[in-house]
Structure formats: structure tokens, C-alpha cells
């Protein structure tokens, strides 16, 4: 049961608007986003339901949904939305809030992937594939996953134990600091 309450309804809409610059109250529920979404069938709630839940402050439901994490950011929805809402951007904003507020993803591997990916980028300024793969495998408690593939990739120089680093690592740190401030 969702309590419709004017203040919270408007405040959640406004938060999303402030963070993403997208006004979800424009959505009139035509369902075109869901119709075109390549992963909609695997989502627990559809993209148009996400938009609706943002409109009426269905906060917990939307922030704990698998939908925001299954979204591929392919932007088919954003391109086709008749109200010109950048739905993919709203999804991204919802992911940020979900992480910041500690909502567990229904599939931990997805959040772990995002977390480790960003940690690697924050550390080196680019992705260290080897370290990232090992960490992700450990996090998923399947340390030997794809190990055969690793040998081939190593031989072809696709992964290396000496992952490169970018020059301006302070700049990278600043970007990360900014983006964290943005969510709050």
C-alpha cells in the first residue's frame, strides 16, 4: 500500500528533476519506453512503471527494483519518448540514489560489477581488466570463473598484470569527488 501524500510526491519528483534535469511529471504513460526496451521482459517492473512510481513517490519500490540495474542505457526509450524525457538519464539518477541510500540490488553481481568497475577507474584512471576480473570473481565467490579464457587473452595481450595508469590521476580524483557531491 502506497500512501499518496502531496509533499513527498512532489519532493521525490523534484529531487529527480534537480539531479537529472528531467521532469518525469511530463510522462503520460503511453508505454513506448517499455515497448521498445530490449530487456523489459527481464525486468521486475517495466520502465513506464518506473516513471509512474517516480511520479507518485513509490521510492522504495523503484530504488530496490532490478529494472534500474538491468537498464543497458541503450537510450532507445529516450530517443522515442513523445514527451522528450531522457528516461535512460532518469534510470542513471535512480541508480546513483539507490547506491547512495544503500538499497541492495536484487542481483548483487550487478551492483558489485558497477562498484568494482568504478573503483578501478578511480584508482588508475582507466580499467585494469585483470584486477577487475579477479575482484569481481572473488566478490561473486566463483574465483575460477572464465579462467581458461584468461590464458588466451593473456597470450594475445588483451590483459596484462601491469595495467596502465593515466597521467592526471588527481584530475580523476576530482571528477569522482564532484560526482559524489552531485548525488547528495
Amino acid at each position: 500500500m502506497l500512501q499518496l501524500n502531496a509533499e513527498t510526491v512532489h519532493s521525490f519528483r523534484d529531487t529527480i528533476k534537480r539531479l537529472s534535469d528531467e521532469d518525469v511529471s511530463r510522462c503520460y504513460q503511453c508505454g513506448k519506453c517499455t515497448a521498445g526496451c530490449p530487456v523489459a521482459t527481464d525486468m521486475d517492473i517495466t520502465p513506464n512503471q518506473v516513471m509512474r512510481l517516480v511520479q507518485i513517490n513509490g521510492r522504495d519500490r523503484v530504488l530496490s527494483s532490478s529494472t534500474i540495474w538491468l537498464c543497458l542505457s541503450c537510450e532507445t526509450c529516450s530517443t522515442r519518448c513523445p514527451e522528450d524525457i531522457d528516461i535512460a538519464k532518469v534510470m542513471d539518477t535512480l541508480r546513483k540514489i539507490s547506491v547512495a541510500e544503500g538499497f541492495a540490488s536484487p542481483q548483487a553481481s550487478i551492483t558489485d560489477f558497477h562498484r568494482l568497475f568504478l573503483a578501478s577507474v578511480e584508482k588508475y584512471g582507466r580499467l585494469n581488466e585483470l584486477e577487475f576480473s579477479i575482484r569481481h570473481n572473488l566478490a561473486m565467490k566463483r574465483p575460477t570463473k572464465d579462467i581458461g579464457l584468461a590464458v588466451t587473452m593473456f597470450q594475445k595481450g588483451k590483459i596484462s598484470p601491469f595495467g596502465g595508469k593515466v597521467k592526471d590521476r588527481d584530475g580523476i580524483k576530482k571528477i569522482f569527488a564532484e560526482s559524489k557531491r552531485f548525488v547528495r
Binding site: 499518496l4 502531496a6 512503471q49 507518485i56
Partner: protein
């Protein structure tokens, strides 16, 4: 109204009822009962002293019980004519009440216009055409919607009550309040389709006006009470005419009205608030609102006496007692009976612009008839062979348009069809035991020869179309 009352070509009969309509296009005999208002219209100056003097206060019908009136009253300040009427059901003199008023109205009236002995006046007049514009009524929702309180909760009102409250000259002086405690409401829930699109409790059709007036009322609520929040529960938003869609979007975007798609299942009272239990079918979740005031958009239905009016005028109506137009696309303002026209919601639920358009169209159609000395008719009408007619008059009983009268020919009474009234339905022709009535263009001979034609053996051998030669 005021402008019409000043026009020399328009006579307004208020507080009057049409009791009988006879005759036909160009020649209607109408009996009007001008009810006794107990005030002499020629003497009354409309000063209102009588209403002020009257000590008997009753709930006002015009304000739907939100306000009061006296036993002698004008229903609203702009009423035309500005002459009060005595409600004989409540006036202490007529009800012989033990509480004496000493005919306060008579004593208050300087013009000596109040006359308790006035009687109903019968006016018989001839008219060329009739426009039926009897309007609509609203479904008595209390009977059908126990889940909304069935009228038990004072703060569950209809949109018409809300409309009265918005009126600056209305019972609350333009203030939106909760009828229960007179406080300004903060959360107001509007529920659409109460009785409309509901086959089990009300009518299956859409009332057509509620989406727009609900949006208007939600906007006006915000303008009247700045702290208030409007919630609207709807099934579909039907905003199909010019600028209507934009108007509803304005309510949502500029006035922050929260629209929720789904019917409300139940309303109950909890701690002085009304808990509205609904669903958001778009989010796929049940929702709940704690409301201070609930406004119902009740279904538009026919007037309770619409069937009697239809019978009196010999015009057909549908199963919802909405008057039927002659053709849904090509003759939308004509009734099947020639010379009788329809305007407004007595034909179908409709909003103001549509009613105005229909009224104007009906007026133009009437002008079309009245500007001619002769009328062009359809040729397929019934005809009586007076030699064969035995005068049993079975035809007069079955004619749905009362188009058959009688004439004396050589001392015999025979049927006679009024050409301008007959619609050529053929019922009389089928009924006549002596086959004395025929439909022009559809005589027995003509019909039989049509039937026989396909079975006649042709002298020439014809080649079937499409077959190889």
C-alpha cells in the same frame, strides 16, 4: 436569460409546465400550465422585502442543501423574472402550520403583489415547431455506492456541491469548506466515473463532461485554497476537444494536481479524515490518500420524467431515456417527429459548447421551417383508400406519430393521414385488416412484382457474368 426576457419576439414562461402537445409541424396545439406563484407578476417590483420578512427557513434546492431559503423566494439572485414564488409545500399559510407568521410577506409587500389565493393558469397556444431542451439529471449515487459511504459522510460531496461552493454568490460566499466542520480542506480527492461506465451500478456510457470540469475544479481549488492539494482518480482522461488536452495537462503540471489512474474501491472515516483506498494501475500498486474532502463526479442521466415528456411529444428515446435524434450523423438535432427538435443533454451527455452549438442548430432548423409557407415532405407516406376503409380505426391506435385522424365522407367515418406528420413507417398499412392503407411507393402490387421478378423465366438465355463465353 435577461437578454431573452427583453426580446419582444420571445416569451418566457417560467414556473410553467407543458401538459399536452397535439397537432403537427407548423400546427402544434400546446397546453401550458402556468403554476400559481402566489405573487402577481404585473405588480411585483422584485424588491425582495417579502423574502426578508418570511420567518420560515428551509434548505435551498438551488444550493443543494448547503444554504437556506425562505418559503417565499427567488431561487438565485440573477433569476429571470426577478419575481419570487411561494413554495406551497413549506409556506406556513398553506401548510396550516401551528407556528403562525401572520402573513408576513403580505404585510411586507408595498406593491400588494402577494396573493395566496392565486390559481394555476392554463394557456392554450399554437406553435409551429418545438425545441426540446429539458436537460439532464445526476445519478442518485447514495443508493448505489455504499462503499463511498452512501451519503453517510458529510464530507463526501458531489461536483455540483463543490461548484456551488466555488460561486462567490453561493452559500459559502466562494469559500471551499468541509461541510462537516466548516474548515478549509487541505487534501481534496476527486473521483471520476461515479455511476458512469459502470454497468452494474449506473450507466455504461461515458458522461463526457466530468474529465473537464474535474480538471477545472482541481485548478480552482488551488486558486481558492493555496495550501490545498487535489488528487484525481480517473479511468481514462477524455479531453478530446479544442485545447482540452492542454487544459488537463495544465492542471497536472502548473497546479500540481496528482492524477491517478484507477477507480476508488472504498472510502471510510478515520480520525476525522476520509481514507480513500484506490489503485494506481499504471504503477501496478494499491494506493491510499487521507483526504479532508471527497468530490464525486456523478453520472449524467436523463431527467426523472423524461419518458413522460417523450410520450407527450411522440418522440422516441433509448434505454437510458435519452431522446433519440432522427439520424446520428446527418440529423443530429431533429427528432423523428417532424417539427420537434432536440438541444442539449436531453439527447446525450454534452458540455456547454456542444449544447450551445446544438441549440443554435435547432433554432436555425426552426427558422428553416417557419420561413416557408409550404413544406417539402418525403414522398413515402401512407395513403387511405377511403372506399375500402371500414372505419375500424385500428390504424389510429398503432400509429406511433399520431398521424391518423378521422374524416366524414358521405356519412361514414374513415381514417385520414396527416401528410406532414406521417413518417412512412408502414405500421398502419400492415395493421389494416381491409388493406385500405398503402404506403406510397410500397404498395402490395409493387412489392409482389419485385419478389416475382427474380423468379421469372427470361425468354432470352442469359450468360452468367464471369462464365466463359
Amino acid at each position: 436569460m435577461v437578454e431573452s426576457s427583453k426580446d419582444k419576439n420571445i416569451t418566457i414562461h417560467t414556473y410553467s409546465e407543458v401538459e399536452q402537445v397535439k397537432g403537427y409541424v407548423g400546427n402544434f396545439d400546446v397546453r401550458i400550465r402556468k403554476k400559481a406563484r402566489s405573487v402577481d407578476m404585473s405588480k411585483c417590483t422584485g424588491c425582495g422585502a417579502c423574502s426578508e420578512a418570511c420567518p420560515h427557513v428551509v434548505p435551498s434546492e438551488w444550493d443543494l442543501g448547503l444554504g437556506t431559503r425562505k418559503a417565499i423566494y427567488t431561487p438565485f439572485p440573477q433569476a429571470v423574472p426577478n419575481v419570487p414564488v411561494i413554495d406551497r409545500d413549506t409556506c406556513r399559510i398553506f401548510t396550516k402550520s401551528k407556528e403562525k407568521c401572520g402573513a408576513a410577506c403580505v404585510r411586507a409587500c408595498v406593491a400588494k403583489a402577494v396573493n395566496h389565493k392565486q390559481e394555476d393558469e392554463i394557456i392554450n397556444e399554437k406553435f409551429g415547431a418545438i425545441v426540446v431542451a429539458t436537460g439532464y439529471s445526476l445519478i442518485p449515487w447514495e443508493k448505489h455506492y455504499g462503499e463511498y459511504g452512501g451519503g453517510r459522510y458529510k464530507d463526501v460531496i458531489t461536483a455540483l456541491h463543490f461548484e456551488r461552493m466555488l460561486q462567490a454568490s453561493g452559500p459559502t460566499g466562494g469559500h471551499v469548506i468541509r461541510p462537516s466542520d466548516g474548515k478549509e480542506p487541505k487534501n481534496v480527492v476527486f473521483i471520476q466515473c461515479v455511476g458512469s461506465r459502470d454497468e452494474s451500478k449506473g450507466v455504461p456510457y461515458c458522461s463526457g463532461i466530468c474529465c473537464m470540469y474535474t480538471a477545472k475544479q482541481a485548478i480552482l481549488l488551488k486558486e481558492h485554497c493555496h495550501d490545498a492539494q487535489a488528487y484525481v482518480f480517473y479511468i481514462d482522461l477524455r479531453a478530446t476537444k479544442k485545447n482540452y488536452e492542454q487544459f488537463v495537462l495544465r492542471a497536472q503540471r502548473d497546479y500540481g494536481v496528482i492524477y491517478t489512474r484507477g477507480r476508488v474501491s472504498r472510502i471510510y472515516e478515520k480520525g476525522g479524515k476520509l481514507v480513500v483506498k484506490g489503485a494506481d494501475t499504471l504503477a501496478g500498486m494499491p494506493v491510499e490518500v487521507e483526504a479532508d474532502l471527497v468530490v464525486l463526479a456523478t453520472a449524467v442521466v436523463a431527467q426523472p420524467d423524461a419518458a413522460d415528456v417523450a410520450r407527450m411529444l411522440s418522440i422516441p428515446h433509448d434505454q437510458f431515456v435519452l431522446f433519440t435524434e432522427a439520424h446520428p450523423k446527418l440529423k443530429p438535432v431533429e427528432s423523428v417527429t417532424r417539427g420537434i427538435f432536440l438541444a442539449g443533454a436531453c439527447q446525450s451527455p454534452m458540455d456547454i459548447p456542444e449544447s450551445v452549438a446544438m441549440g443554435s442548430a435547432a433554432a436555425a432548423k426552426v427558422c428553416g421551417i417557419l420561413s416557408h409557407t409550404e413544406l417539402m415532405l418525403d414522398p413515402t407516406i401512407a395513403e387511405v383508400n377511403t372506399d375500402r376503409c371500414s372505419g375500424c380505426l385500428a390504424c389510429t391506435k398503432v400509429c406511433p406519430f399520431e398521424a391518423i385522424t378521422t374524416v366524414e365522407i358521405d356519412g361514414r367515418t374513415v381514417s385520414n393521414v396527416i401528410a406532414s406528420v406521417c413518417q412512412g413507417c408502414g405500421t398502419c398499412a400492415a395493421t389494416c385488416p381491409a388493406s385500405a392503407i398503402t404506403l406510397k411507393g410500397f404498395t402490395n402490387e409493387e412489392i409482389y412484382s419485385q419478389i416475382e421478378a427474380p423468379f421469372k423465366k427470361s425468354e432470352k438465355k442469359e450468360v452468367a457474368v464471369g462464365a466463359p463465353a
